[in-house]
C-alpha cells in the first residue's frame, strides 16, 4: 500500500484504481483500519468510474468463502470437539458457547464488511451486484451455512441438544414445574441443573442460552442449528409427560393441563428464539418478503412453534388413546373424560382410519374368541355403543368398528337369550339394558319416515368419508342400544320370540301369579317393538290373572262343600291359552291316582265355570310343596317338581321299588327316574340298595342336610327350561315346510335352492313362529333330507327320488 502511494507516475490511472481497490477492500474486511472516510469515498468514486465497484461484492464473498474453508470452519469444529469426553456438562456448554463465540468473532469483519457495502450501495457508490444489498447478505449467509453445516459431525447436535435440554429443565424449574427434572431431584441437587445446590449454574445456563441465541441469530443460524434439537426435545418431553400422566388414566381430562404446560414450554421457546428483540442485536430485521425463515418476527416463529407443538400433542395423544381404546371403552362411563379429549384431538389429526383398524383388531384379539362369555361381549358392546357415540356423533366409527362384534355375536347361540335376559333385568351385572329399556324417550324400532320433515336441510352434514356405503343413510345409523342389539340378527321377531320363551319360563316357575314386573317389562317392550308384536305376551300375562281368578273361584266353591267332600289335596292351576304360549315340552308322566282325581275334580269345576271348555293338564309342569314325615325326622315345606312328588308318593304305598317298577308306574324312562331319584337320595329319604332297588330310610343316620327345610330342585334341573329351545322350534318349523317342499317338487319336478327359498317365502303365511328363514338353514335342512334319501340333489337342483 505504501509502495503504491509513493509511485504515482506510470499508468497513473491503473495504479490509482489498484490503490483505490486496496483501500476499499481493506476497509471492507478490516473495519479497524485507519483509512479515513475521505480517502475511502474518493477511492470508491474512482472504482465506480472504472466500473470496478460491481466486483466488490463478488470479491467479498470470495474472500469469505476462502477464509471459511481454510481456517474458520476447521477451527470451529476442532474447538467444539477438542476436549473429548472428560468434561463436565457445564464445561461442555461453555465449550459450545465459546466455539460459536469464536465463529462470530472470526466472521465479524465480514459481517461488518457486508454492512458497509450495503451502506455504500444505498448511498449510490458501488454498483449493485445483482440482487442488491439484501441479496448479497443472503448469499453471504448461505455460504456460511453451506460451508459450516455441509456435513456437520454429530457432536454439534449432541451438544446443542444437551444444552437445550438443560436450559429447558432450568426454565421449567423456575416456572414452578419442579419435580419434572427427574435426574436432579433424586441426586438431591438443584432440580434445574442437576448438581448440588452450591454449584448451581441455572442462572448461568440461562445467560449462556441467551448469548448463544444471540450469536446464532446474528449468524442467521438459529433455525438451522436449534430447530432439530428443539423439536426432538419437545417431542421427547411431550411423549414422556404423556406416558407419565395420561397412560391408563381415563377419568380426567388432560387438555387443559397440557395447554397450561405448553404455555410454560413456550416461555422457554421464546428464550431460544427471540433473543434478538431483547438482546439489542444490530442485525437489521429485513422485510418479510425477502427472507424466508431467519428473519421472521419472533412472534411468528413462536406462533409456528405453538401450532407445531399443539399438532404434535394431538397426534401423540391420539396415538396413545388409540392403543388404549379398548380399555377406555371397557371402563366407559368412568372414562368419559378420555373419550372427550380423544374426540377433540381426533378432529385435529387425520387418524380415524388408524383408530378404526386398531380398534377392530383389538376387539378381535381381546374379545371375540371362545374364552369370553357372551354376556361379557354384550357388556363391552354396550359400552362401545355408549362410548363411540360420544366420540363420533355420526356413528360411523361405531358402525364400522363394531361390525366384527355383531358378526361374531351372530354365531353365538345364546346371544338372544342373553340380550333378553339383560332387557328383563335377569342377567347379573348387566343392568344397562334394563335401564336403557326404561329410558324416558324410547326409540321405536318401527321405521320412522316422519323424520324427514323434522330435520332442517340446512343442518345436513355429509357422512365422513370412511362411512360404509349402504342403503341405510346416516339417519338410519342408529345409536340406540336396544335397536342396535336387536338388529344384530336383522329381525326383531327372533327377539320377541325369545322374550316370549323367557317370559313363559319365568311365569311357569313362579307360583304366586305375581306379574307386576313382567307387566312392566312387556309395556316397556311394547313401546319399542310395537303393540302387535307384544300381543302374545300380553295374552300370556292375562292368562296369569285369569288363572288366579279361576283358582279363587274354585277354591271358594270347594269351601262350601261338606267335610267329607273336601278334595284330597289342595290343587291350583295355571291355565294357559295354548295358542299364545311358546310350545311347551311334552313329557309323559303318570301321576298317582290321588292327584289325578284332584285334577279331574278341578277340570270338572272348570267346565262348569266355562261352558264348552275343558282343561288339558300338563302333568310334568308345575310345582309341589310337601312335607315328608319319617320316623325320626320331618322335612317340611319341601318344594319339588311333580315328578319328584309322584316318586315319593309311590314310596308311601310301598317302601321299596326297583327302577323298572317305578318307570312303569310313572310312564317315564328309567334314566329320567334314576336322575330324579337323586334328589331324594341327597335328602337322605331314599337309599339305593343292591339289585337296583330303592327303599325308604326311615331312621336317618347322621344326615347333615337334615336341618335344611327347603331345598330346591337338584342341580341337573336347575334352570331347566320348560319350553322347547329356539333350535328345536326352528327344526319343527322347517319340518312344517317339508310338506310344502314335497308338493312343490312333485309339481315342478326339480328346483334350485334359491327357487325353493323364494317360493317358501312367498307362499308360507306368516304366523307367530318366526318365518325369517335363512337360505343356509334351509340348505342344511334339505341336505339332511338328501342324506336321509328323502330327496335327491344333483347339478344344483333338488328333486324327489323316483321311487316316490
Amino acid at each position: 500500500m505504501e509502495e503504491n502511494v509513493m509511485e504515482p507516475d506510470v499508468s497513473a490511472a491503473q495504479q490509482g484504481s489498484a490503490n483505490a481497490w486496496e483501500t476499499v477492500t481493506a476497509a471492507l474486511v478490516s473495519p479497524g483500519s485507519s483509512v479515513s472516510e475521505e480517502s475511502l469515498t474518493e477511492s470508491l468514486a474512482l472504482l465506480n468510474r472504472h466500473g470496478l465497484s460491481d466486483f466488490l461484492g463478488g470479491w467479498l464473498l470470495e474472500t469469505l468463502q476462502m477464509r471459511l474453508t481454510v481456517s474458520v470452519v476447521p477451527e470451529f469444529w476442532s474447538g467444539l470437539k477438542q476436549p473429548e469426553n472428560e468434561l463436565e456438562e457445564k464445561d461442555r456448554a461453555w465449550v459450545l458457547l465459546t466455539a460459536f463465540q469464536t465463529l462470530l468473532d472470526r466472521l465479524g469483519p465480514f459481517l461488518d464488511g457486508l454492512e458497509r457495502l450495503g451502506a455504500w450501495q444505498d448511498k449510490g457508490f458501488g454498483g449493485l451486484c445483482g440482487s442488491g444489498a439484501e441479496g448479497l447478505h443472503e448469499r453471504a449467509f448461505t455460504i456460511i451455512r453451506a460451508l459450516l453445516l455441509f456435513s456437520p459431525p454429530t457432536v454439534l447436535q449432541e451438544r446443542v441438544l444437551e444444552f437445550y435440554s438443560r436450559t429447558f429443565s432450568v426454565h421449567m424449574n423456575q416456572e414452578g414445574e419442579a419435580g419434572e427434572a427427574e435426574d436432579g431431584a433424586e441426586a438431591g441437587g438443584c432440580p434445574g441443573c442437576g448438581v448440588p445446590p452450591q454449584q448451581c449454574w441455572c442462572q448461568e445456563a440461562l445467560e449462556q442460552l441467551q448469548e448463544l441465541s444471540h450469536i446464532l441469530s446474528r449468524l442467521r443460524l438459529l433455525e438451522w442449528v436449534s430447530s432439530e434439537a428443539v423439536t426432538s426435545i419437545l417431542h421427547k418431553l411431550i411423549e414422556q409427560r404423556m406416558e407419565q400422566h395420561c397412560r391408563g388414566e381415563y377419568e380426567r381430562s388432560f387438555l387443559l393441563d397440557f395447554q397450561e404446560w405448553l404455555e410454560l414450554v413456550l416461555g422457554w421457546l421464546s428464550r431460544v428464539f427471540t433473543s434478538e428483540t431483547n438482546g439489542g442485536c444490530p442485525v437489521p430485521v429485513p422485510s418479510a418478503a425477502s427472507s424466508s425463515r431467519a428473519g421472521q418476527p419472533a412472534s411468528t416463529i413462536l406462533q409456528q412453534w405453538r401450532c407445531h407443538m399443539h399438532q404434535f400433542f394431538c397426534r401423540i395423544y391420539v396415538n396413545m388413546r388409540i392403543e388404549e381404546l379398548f380399555s377406555i371403552i371397557r371402563d366407559f362411563p368412568e372414562s368419559k373424560a378420555a373419550i372427550e379429549d380423544l374426540k377433540f384431538c381426533l378432529e385435529r389429526t387425520n387418524q380415524r382410519q388408524q383408530l378404526l383398524t386398531s380398534l377392530k383388531s383389538a376387539f378381535e384379539s381381546r374379545l371375540l374368541h371362545p374364552g369370553v362369555h357372551t354376556s361379557d361381549i354384550l357388556t363391552v358392546y354396550i359400552s362401545a355403543i355408549k362410548a363411540l357415540r360420544e366420540l363420533d356423533p355420526s356413528m360411523v366409527i361405531l358402525q364400522v368398528a363394531c361390525q366384527p362384534i355383531r358378526k361374531y355375536l351372530r354365531t353365538r347361540e345364546d346371544t338372544v337369550r342373553q340380550i333378553v335376559a339383560g332387557l328383563t333385568g335377569d342377567a347379573e351385572g348387566c343392568s344397562d339394558l334394563a335401564s336403557e329399556l326404561s329410558r324416558a324417550d324410547p326409540v321405536t324400532l318401527e321405521m320412522q319416515e316422519s323424520d324427514d320433515e323434522g330435520s332442517d336441510p340446512e343442518e345436513w352434514t355429509p357422512d365422513p368419508t370412511d362411512a360404509v356405503t349402504d342403503k341405510t343413510g346416516s339417519k338410519r345409523r342408529s345409536s340406540d342400544i336396544i335397536s342396535l342389539l336387536v338388529s344384530i340378527y336383522g329381525s326383531k321377531e327372533i327377539f320377541i320370540d325369545e322374550y316370549r320363551t323367557v317370559l313363559a319360563d319365568r311365569l311357569l316357575h313362579q307360583l304366586n301369579y305375581n306379574t307386576a314386573r313382567e307387566i312392566r317389562n312387556v309395556e316397556l317392550l311394547k313401546l319399542r317393538f310395537g303393540e302387535s308384536h307384544m300381543h302374545y305376551c300380553e295374552v300370556m300375562l292375562k292368562d296369569m290373572a285369569d288363572s288366579r281368578r279361576i283358582n279363587s273361584n274354585i277354591r271358594e266353591e270347594e269351601s262350601r262343600l261338606g267335610e267329607e267332600e273336601q278334595p284330597p289335596l289342595s290343587l291350583s292351576a295355571m291355565i294357559l291359552s295354548s295358542e299364545f304360549w311358546p310350545q311347551l315340552k311334552e313329557e309323559k308322566l303318570e301321576l298317582p291316582p290321588l292327584v289325578c282325581q284332584a285334577m279331574e275334580a278341578y277340570t270338572h269345576r272348570y267346565e262348569k265355570l266355562k261352558a264348552m271348555r275343558t282343561l288339558s293338564w300338563k302333568p310334568h309342569l308345575g310345582s309341589v310343596t310337601l312335607d315328608v314325615e319319617l320316623e325320626d325326622r320331618v322335612l317340611t315345606n319341601f318344594t319339588v317338581s311333580p315328578i319328584h312328588a309322584a316318586i315319593i308318593l309311590h314310596f308311601q304305598d310301598k317302601s321299596s321299588w326297583t327302577l323298572e317298577e317305578l318307570s312303569g308306574k310313572l310312564g317315564v324312562p328309567k334314566e329320567t327316574v334314576h336322575r330324579k331319584l337323586a334328589l331324594w337320595q341327597q335328602q337322605g329319604v331314599l337309599r339305593e340298595e343292591a339289585g337296583g332297588r330303592y327303599s325308604v330310610l326311615e331312621t336317618g343316620s347322621s344326615r347333615e342336610r337334615l336341618e335344611r327345610s327347603v331345598m330346591l330342585i337338584d342341580s341337573d334341573e336347575e334352570g331347566d327350561s320348560n319350553t322347547t329351545t329356539q333350535s328345536e322350534q326352528r327344526e319343527e318349523k322347517l319340518q312344517l315346510f317339508w310338506a310344502y317342499i314335497q308338493a312343490m317338487l312333485t309339481n315342478l319336478e326339480s328346483m334350485t335352492l334359491d327357487r325353493i327359498h323364494s317360493m317358501l317365502r312367498m307362499f308360507v303365511a306368516t304366523g307367530p313362529v318366526v318365518t325369517e328363514m335363512d337360505v343356509n338353514e334351509l340348505e342344511a335342512f334339505l341336505q339332511r333330507k338328501v342324506r336321509e334319501h328323502q330327496l335327491m340333489f344333483s347339478a344344483g337342483v333338488y328333486r324327489l327320488p323316483k321311487s316316490n
Binding site: S572, S577, W617, K618, L621, V624, D627, N637
Partner: protein, 84 residues
C-alpha cells in the same frame, strides 16, 4: 313314611270342546281367536248351531249379517239356528 301334600300347583291349557280344530270361517284355531280379536277364550267365544257346526261367534255373526236372503250355516247350508 308319610307324605303330606300341602299344595300342588299344576299347569294346564284350556281348550274348546268342539268337533273340529279350526273355525270353518276364518280358519284360525278355535283355541286362538278370530282375526278381529286379540284375546281368546271369554272374549272370543265359540257358538254352536243346531246343525252342530261351530264357529267363532264373531265370525258367524259377520257371516250372518252378510247374508241378505236366508241365514244358512256356511258349512252345511242348512238354516242357521243357534243351539240353545
Amino acid at each position: 313314611m308319610k307324605v303330606k301334600i300341602k299344595q300342588w300347583n299344576g299347569v294346564a291349557s284350556w281348550l274348546w270342546v268342539a268337533n273340529d280344530e279350526n273355525c270353518g270361517i276364518c280358519r284360525m284355531s278355535f283355541n286362538g281367536c278370530c282375526p278381529d280379536c286379540k284375546v281368546p277364550g271369554d272374549d272370543c267365544p265359540l257358538v254352536w248351531g243346531q246343525c252342530s257346526h261351530c264357529f267363532h261367534m264373531h265370525c258367524i255373526l259377520k257371516w250372518l249379517n252378510s247374508q241378505q236372503v236366508q241365514q244358512q250355516c256356511p258349512m252345511c247350508r242348512q238354516e242357521w239356528k243357534f243351539k240353545e
